[in-house]
């Protein structure tokens, strides 16, 4: 488990338990270690969700196949979507939020280190809660969007949807706690001189994403509470049969959350690519202020487009026109970003490292997904495309071509900072090209099968409808992904053990996180720097030579430097465990409910009444 491959970060002897081993990971409150926990866990779920997709594609590879039953197929596509969105992409972004935000703004940790640990443990337990049922064939089976009234007790009587409702509720707690934490960190813990308009673009996009999380997650929380009450207490929120409930209530509430969620998934990747492209082009990001404003505009408009997911329900011409127009408007700030990345590369000294290849592929692939998005922003066109594989092609181009490609760009770029060693470039390029080919071979043909009328979520189909060839292509593409991932996994573990030593700034990057040793010491910055420019390491007029010299030193303990480090504690883990036990009690027994609530309250009080760190001496 130890990722302290090169050199254990220096911990003072007065902080017992911080010397490594399992306890040090269970009790850690260090944002970098929590980031690493997020990275491993989310990659694990990413691989699991990918394997679910491989089974889906195997089932659809040829007409009239019966590899899995229709019922299990429902569980597979539901869990593939749920896993990739809530357990893979969001927490992979969280891994970078954790690791990078404090380093990029010149802080020693996040604002609330223990709350940060709590977010991780809730995510891990919630992820297991919603994932494990698939091994007993009782996984959620109502789609990742869980449309009510289909998901009410009358139509989905089994435990499947119970796991989904409660699981998402748990994951919402994790996301919200993390969002308050990062929002506060970015607002309040910036180093002197780190004004908002000097913040690295990744931190800016992270900031926008936290605002989206804070405002969008309460809406899904309430939609889920209604569903939970309907299922467990017999309320009528989605009871369209006897109580006169509105069948569109769920859809509106879900998509008011669900569309901002799309930007929650993609903006962190945009931020990562905005770090990657300038470094390998040896040029500052083109049009920095406009990149900031376009990110904010995407977030604002993102709250006004939700009903474009609902054109097929018949909202009437005025609503359709409004939501069609707002959706088209979002193309403007997004297009601005695409052009600014291209302008950053133009006439730059471009180096095609693996990170850069992933970054550039995002620019191209996201553009394809963006353009098909504009196609179904038009209600009449959407009526033809909705619920077909055309939509599946569209959102895989934006979420795989956008988010996942951006996240891998980030992994290749930041691996040296996280571990102190370089990833192997040759294996990395194998990984990139295999993934790029697999991605296009899988998802591009879906545009055609969708246009030919193949509906989403069907578990098999008859031959002779013109879909066979495209499905076979998609399936072959999907089988290449595991091979690509094997290259990545081998590279990851081999490089972590024996990769080339990275040094503090292997890529010649310009932002603060590259001014400190790799991996960073526990306290990040021996001396908090004073920031005067957007790229302090590039612009050469760094007045803060003294802090730069101090920060480059390796092997100093916090004690030697007089830096106070928060105590390690397992209390956040206990609170998270109490929360999960309480929710499990809702399904299995009221005793469990009481035990969980008791654990939650006692450990929460114990946490709040114990000090974060030793008294300042």
């Amino acid at each position: 488990m130890a990722t302290t491959a090169i050199r254990t970060p220096a911990y003072g002897a007065e902080y017992p338990g911080e010397h490594g081993g399992l306890y040090s990971w269970l009790a850690t409150v260090d944002h970098k270690r929590i980031g690493i926990l997020y990275l491993y866990t989310a990659l694990g779920f990413f691989i699991f969700g990918g394997l679910e997709a491989v089974v889906i594609r195997a089932q659809l590879g040829a007409p009239n196949q019966h590899l899995v039953s229709a019922e299990f197929y429902n569980q597979l596509f539901t869990m593939h979507g749920t896993t990739m969105i809530f357990l893979a992409i969001m927490p992979l972004s969280s891994a970078f939020f954790n690791f990078l935000i404090p380093l990029q703004i010149g802080a020693r940790d996040v604002a609330f280190p223990r709350l940060n640990a709590f977010s991780y443990w809730v995510y891990l337990f919630g992820g297991l809660f919603i994932t494990l049922p698939i091994f007993f064939a009782v996984a959620p089976n109502g789609g990742w969007f869980g449309y009510a009234p289909l998901t009410t007790k009358a139509y989905s009587p089994g435990l499947n949807i119970d796991f989904w409702v409660i699981g998402l509720q748990i994951l919402g707690v994790s996301s919200l706690a993390a969002a308050f934490n990062f929002l506060t960190t970015i607002i309040n813990l910036r180093a002197p001189g780190m004004t908002l308009m000097r913040m690295p673009m990744f931190t800016w996009m992270a900031f926008v994403v936290q605002v989206l999380l804070v405002l969008a997650f309460p809406v899904i929380t309430i939609a889920l509470v209604f569903l939970l009450f309907d299922r467990f207490f017999g309320t009528n929120f989605y009871n369209t049969v006897s109580a006169g409930a509105d069948p569109l209530l769920w859809q509106h509430l879900f998509w008011i959350f669900g569309h901002p969620e799309v930007y929650i998934l993609v903006l962190p990747a945009f931020g990562l690519v905005s770090e990657v492209i300038p470094v390998y082009s040896r040029k500052p990001l083109f049009g920095y202020p406009v990149m900031v404003y376009s990110g904010i505009l995407i977030a604002v408009l993102g709250f006004g487009v939700w009903a474009h997911h609902m054109f097929a329900v018949g909202m009437g011409p005025i609503a359709d026109t409004f939501f069609g127009l707002t959706t088209m408007l979002i193309a403007i700030p997004t297009g601005v970003k695409i052009f600014n990345w291209i302008a950053t590369m133009a006439q730059g000294a471009v180096r095609y490292t693996t990170a850069m290849l992933f970054g550039v592929s995002l620019v191209g692939l996201f553009t394809i997904g963006g353009i098909s998005g504009i196609m179904h922003s038009s209600p009449p066109a959407d009526l033809q495309q909705t619920d077909t594989y055309f939509i599946v092609a569209h959102f895989h181009y934006v979420l795989f071509g956008g988010s996942i490609m951006g996240i891998f760009a980030g992994i290749y770029h930041y691996f040296p900072k996280i571990t102190g060693r370089m990833l192997d470039e040759k294996l990395g390029k194998w990984h990139f090209w295999l993934m790029f080919i697999a991605m296009n071979l899988t998802f591009f043909p879906m545009h055609f099968s969708g246009m030919l009328g193949m509906p989403r979520r069907i578990y098999t189909y008859d031959a002779g409808q013109g879909w066979d060839l495209y499905n076979a292509m998609s399936t072959i593409g999907a089988m290449i992904f595991p091979i690509a991932m094997l290259f990545f996994i081998y590279n990851f573990f081999k490089s972590r053990r024996s990769g080339e030593i990275a040094g503090s700034n292997p890529w010649g990057a310009g932002t603060l996180e590259w001014s400190i040793p790799s991996p960073p010491p526990e306290y990040n910055f021996a001396k908090i720097p004073t920031v005067t420019t957007r790229y302090p390491l590039w612009e050469g007029k760094e007045p803060d030579h003294e802090s730069a010299r101090i920060n480059a030193q390796e092997g100093k303990t916090p004690h030697e430097l007089g830096i106070i480090i928060p105590y390690s504690t397992m209390k956040p883990l206990l609170v998270a465990a109490g929360l999960i036990i309480m929710f499990c009690g809702l399904i299995w027994s009221h005793v469990l409910l009481a035990v969980g609530a008791g654990t939650l309250i006692l450990s929460l009080y114990s946490w709040l009444l114990s000090p974060l760190e030793p008294e300042h001496s």
Partner: protein, 224 residues
């Protein structure tokens, strides 16, 4: 325990922050922003379903059961809820006095009036008491509604009404627990001006919950 409580509130001046504010104060505002969306979702759903219940009882109109001929009167008791609303609004005043008492703990108190105004234990207690009275009114209201035939399963009004006001009640309950915890700390070691942030963030939460009630009272009880 007593020493650990002392640690909690140790002033955090040695931590540099961009705004010069304690991070907990920034976080509570972010939390309140999020809570706004939570209540907006609940209140919107209530308003969307207003007047769409298939069977009674209804909030403002009477309803005759077609099968039994029994007449169910309008269920909301506005005078009683006005009283509980008044109590909750008073609690915000007590909360202001509690915060002022903690902030001015070290100032000399000359007159009897100054001593009463400076008694943080009294005002924390009064705030928690007013919150508890409000919750008792709500418990009375809920049980009497159930007796009159309105359960959470009965109709759309029952489902939305109990969920909305129940969520608000849960927030008041959490606030009362918070206030009682502060009161316990005050008894154990005394809250001084250096602890005012602890009371300040609780007060922000408490006032927010009060404001939400003003909206609920207007839209659910007063608006026909």
């Amino acid at each position: 325990m007593a020493t650990s409580v002392a640690h909690t509130s140790a002033p955090t001046h040695h931590h540099y922050t961009t705004l010069g504010l304690d991070s907990r104060k920034v976080a509570i505002w972010a939390f309140i922003g999020s809570e706004c969306m939570l209540f907006v979702s609940l209140i919107s759903t209530y308003l969307i379903y207003k007047g769409r219940s298939v069977i009674g009882p209804f909030p403002h109109e009477s309803w005759t059961d077609p099968s039994t001929g029994q007449v169910l009167k309008p269920i909301l008791n506005i005078p009683v809820t006005s009283a509980s609303t008044f109590v909750l609004l008073m609690s915000s005043l007590f909360m202001v006095l509690a915060l002022a008492a903690v902030q001015n703990k070290e100032l000399p108190k000359r007159t009897r009036g100054e001593r009463i105004l400076g008694n943080s234990k009294l005002w924390l207690f009064m705030t928690a008491l007013a919150g508890t009275i409000f919750l008792s009114f709500q418990a009375f209201e809920f049980t009497s509604f159930v007796h009159e035939g309105l359960s959470i399963r009965r109709n759309l009004f029952g489902s939305t009404f109990f969920t909305l006001t129940g969520f608000h009640g849960a927030h008041v309950t959490a606030g009362v627990l918070w206030l009682v915890t502060l009161l316990a700390i005050d008894y154990r070691r005394g809250l001084g001006s250096r602890d005012s942030l602890l009371v300040d963030i609780c007060a922000l939460y408490w006032h927010f919950v009060d404001v939400v009630w003003i909206v609920i009272f207007t839209l659910v009880y007063l608006l026909r």
